[in-house]
């Protein structure tokens, strides 16, 4: 079965430190992978995507993610965390290659950046 896993419910990091939010996937074929961020009572905002090419993709607000095919992972990273980065982060995989037009989302990871 196709799935996306975010193994950490919450990640705490001190402001100025690097952050990593983990995501692993299990899909058939080549995955199209995404990260979204959600602030309280708001819709999801697109951060970045991996479709093909360079394994390190850069996105909005200084975030980047590394695609690792052998480990089936797509971890979100940022070199220096800000308090304003505190939010709920979702990893998603697109199933369009399977003939559908939908995502599977992970369960979300709450990032808390401490001042």
């Amino acid at each position: 079965a196709q799935s996306v896993a975010q193994p950490e419910d919450q990640v705490n990091v001190a402001e100025g430190n690097p952050l990593t939010v983990k995501c692993t996937y299990s899909v058939s074929g080549n995955p199209y992978l995404f990260w979204y961020v959600q602030y309280p009572n708001r819709g999801l905002q697109f951060l970045l995507k991996y479709i093909t090419g360079d394994n390190l993709v850069k996105g909005s607000y200084g975030f980047e993610a590394e695609f690792n095919k052998s480990q089936t992972s797509f971890h979100l990273k940022k070199p220096s965390a800000l308090v304003s980065d505190s939010a709920l982060y979702f990893c998603a995989v697109d199933l369009s290659t399977s003939g559908t037009y939908k995502y599977i989302f992970g369960t979300g990871t709450r990032l808390k950046v401490l001042a």
């Binding site: 995404f34 708001r42 697109f46 037009y101 369960t107 979300g108």
Partner: protein, 112 residues
Amino acid sequence: SQTIHQWPATLVQPVGSPLSLECTVEGTSNPNLYWYRQAAGRGLQLLFYSVGIGQISSEVPQNLSASRPQDRQFILSSKKLLLSDSGFYLCAWRNRGSYEQYFGPGTRLTVT
């Protein structure tokens, strides 16, 4: 540029009452459209998606339905709400040929 609207922003409805949530997209044509529900501020559940007018795919059997009467309009409905229908409802769109989905601001539904 493209924008997506959802209304109402918040809604409190009694059990057994009907529901109609509306989503419209501007600045694009023939998008894929999606309804999600988010419970308890965490996981997202895909409810329906549509690849064209009148074409609705249902992901989860429940007392909700969706319709797409116009190209950029997506409506979520229920004839009789249940307590379990409470949640945060998100509409999203996606252009053909691209992969990312863009989300609306959401509707917070509380069924009492």
